[in-house]
Structures are given as C-alpha cells and as structure tokens.
C-alpha cells in the first residue's frame, strides 16, 4: 500500500459531508474546540498533512479529524478498510466546556501516517457509539475509557470495569473526582 492510496483513503474520509476535517493549526490548538478551523480544501489538506511537515514534528500526528459522535464508527470503518490499526482510545475531560473529548489514535504499518479522530460528547451524559465490532481491540480501550471517564459506549458488549475493582462506581480521571 503506497502513499498515494492512503491519500485517496483520507480524501474519502474527508469528503464525507458530515465529517469536518481541520488542518492542525499550531498556535490555537484544535483540541480547544471552538477554534476549529474551517474545512480546508481536500486536495490542499492532503498536501499539507500527508507530507513530513513541521506540523508532524511538533505534534506527532499527521491528520486530525473531528467528527460527530455518530460518525465515529463510520470513520473507523474507512480506516480499517485502508488497513490502519488502532493505537489507543482515550478521553480528555474538558470540565470548563462541560464536554468530554474521546480521542482515537490510528496508525499505519507501512506508511508514516498517524490519524487522530476526535469527538466531543456532553459531560453530563457522555455517550459514543462503540467501534468494538470494527476493531476488536477497541473493546478493552473503550472499557478503560468507561472506567476512567464514565463514557457509555453504546452497543459495547460488556462495559464492566476493566482496571478498576469490579464494584467500582467512580470515574477517577474526571477532573472533579476526589478519592
């Protein structure tokens, strides 16, 4: 699988209407939420993101994709079809904005390309569809995220605590958690 094909793949991901693709801007970070840059021209975006740019040297990833929760599974499917593998799933608690961000890291074996997919969900009732049917490895990562942030992954077969004790009802990585 060459670089050209991966470009194609990411273009496919980018042109799906509901998915907004933002170029990773160094100064106001994309993770900040409201700073989300306007959708960039697809062709241009690929040019900017796929090459070994200073961006990568600074951030450590090549493409930063923001999607709505419903589109997570779809993005994951596209990435699986193009032979990406899942590195990790985690959450970030943005308590000031009352949101929890779920971050998916994907990487590719043969091409230097790390893709980050992010989605935000309401902090009071965090819900994201599972991708454990697409990536089997996501099962544990999602359970772990559920442990730490209390995010419910709808459709997940078993969200019982993985790292916390069986009867744990707390979510320690939330910023307002007190032991």
């Amino acid at each position: 699988m060459g670089l050209a094909k991966i470009k194609q793949a990411l273009a496919e991901l980018a042109v799906t209407e509901t998915i907004e693709v933002s170029k990773t801007v160094p100064a106001p970070p994309a993770a900040e939420g409201e700073e989300q840059g306007k959708p960039v021209e697809v062709k241009e975006m690929i040019e900017q993101n796929m090459l070994f740019t200073p961006e990568y040297a600074k951030k450590g990833y090549h493409l930063d994709v923001k999607v709505t929760a419903e589109n997570v599974a779809r993005s994951a499917k596209i990435l699986l079809d193009h032979e990406f593998f899942l590195e990790s799933i985690t959450g970030v608690d943005w308590i000031k904005e009352n949101q929890i961000e779920i971050v998916y890291d994907f990487n590719h074996w043969h091409t230097l390309c790390r893709v980050v997919i992010r989605t935000r969900t309401d902090r009071a009732n965090p819900e994201v569809p599972t991708i454990s049917e697409i990536y089997s490895g996501a099962n544990w990562h999602e359970r772990e995220t559920h442990d730490f942030f209390g995010v419910t992954f709808t459709g997940h077969p078993d969200l019982s605590p993985l790292l916390l004790p069986e009867d744990a009802d707390y979510h320690p990585l939330l910023k307002d958690f007190k032991a």
């Binding site: 916390l164 004790p165 707390y170 320690p172 032991a179």
Partner: protein
Amino acid sequence: MAPLDQVLALGRANSLWPMTFGLACCAIEMMAAGASRFDLARFGAEVFRPSPRQCDVMIVAGTITKKMAPAVKTLYDQMPEPKWVIAMGNCAISGGPFAFEGQYAIVEGADKFLPVDIYIPGCPPRPEALIEGILELEEKITGSRRWPRVQCG
C-alpha cells in the same frame, strides 16, 4: 527456648521457602536474588513454591492495590503455620511513590492487613537487601544472628 524448640527454630530458619508471588518491580529483584549472582540458595531459601500451602514466608514484593488486597489476604490465610511476611520495597511498606493525595487504587502498606515481620526499604531494594531481610527473619526466628557470619564475595 527449650532445646527442641531451638532445633525446630534452627530447622525453620534454615529452610525458609518463599512463595512464587511477585506484584511489581520488586519481584524482578526477588528473582535476581534467587539467580546466580546473589543465590538465595546458599541459605536454603531458594525453593520458591508456587502453592501457598508449601510456603513459609510470603515476600510481598510490590504495590498492593485495593483490587489485589483480598487475594493477598487469601494467599496468606492459605499458608500453614508457622508463617512469616516480608514487606519488600517502599510500596509494600507504606505505598511508596504511589501514596499521594487523591490516590484511590492502592493499599498503603502490607501491614494494613497482614502481620509483617520484616520491612525491606528501597524502590526497589537491591537483592542484597532482600538477602539481609531473610537473614533478619532468621534472626527473628532463632533469636540470634546466623553464625558464622556470612561473608560477601
């Protein structure tokens, strides 16, 4: 001690079988203590038994988490008398580097729920420290330091 007690104590002290039971980093140093350079076998203490029924001493080597604590307690209960506990490393003594404000996962020290006989500080303690701990335990059992004194090298 009565003479028979003394004989038995000598027997026990010279045949301390530890449990094959490591929790974290210290377990590697425990293995190193049994390996060629340090050779716990010199004192007859190299027989690491995987079954608690055949062990005399439990070396708590590592952090005890709240999830693990019941299992540690069970293992201790399964050991036949007389039995001893060595808390190896700072985690097993007091929670070590993991004791901080807001920590919810660990038990701060094995002595919260086990009768600990010997504490070996270090993070992790060197194998020499573990050997010294075993010798201290022998001293505790027999009432006197091993004689002749063990020379290093």
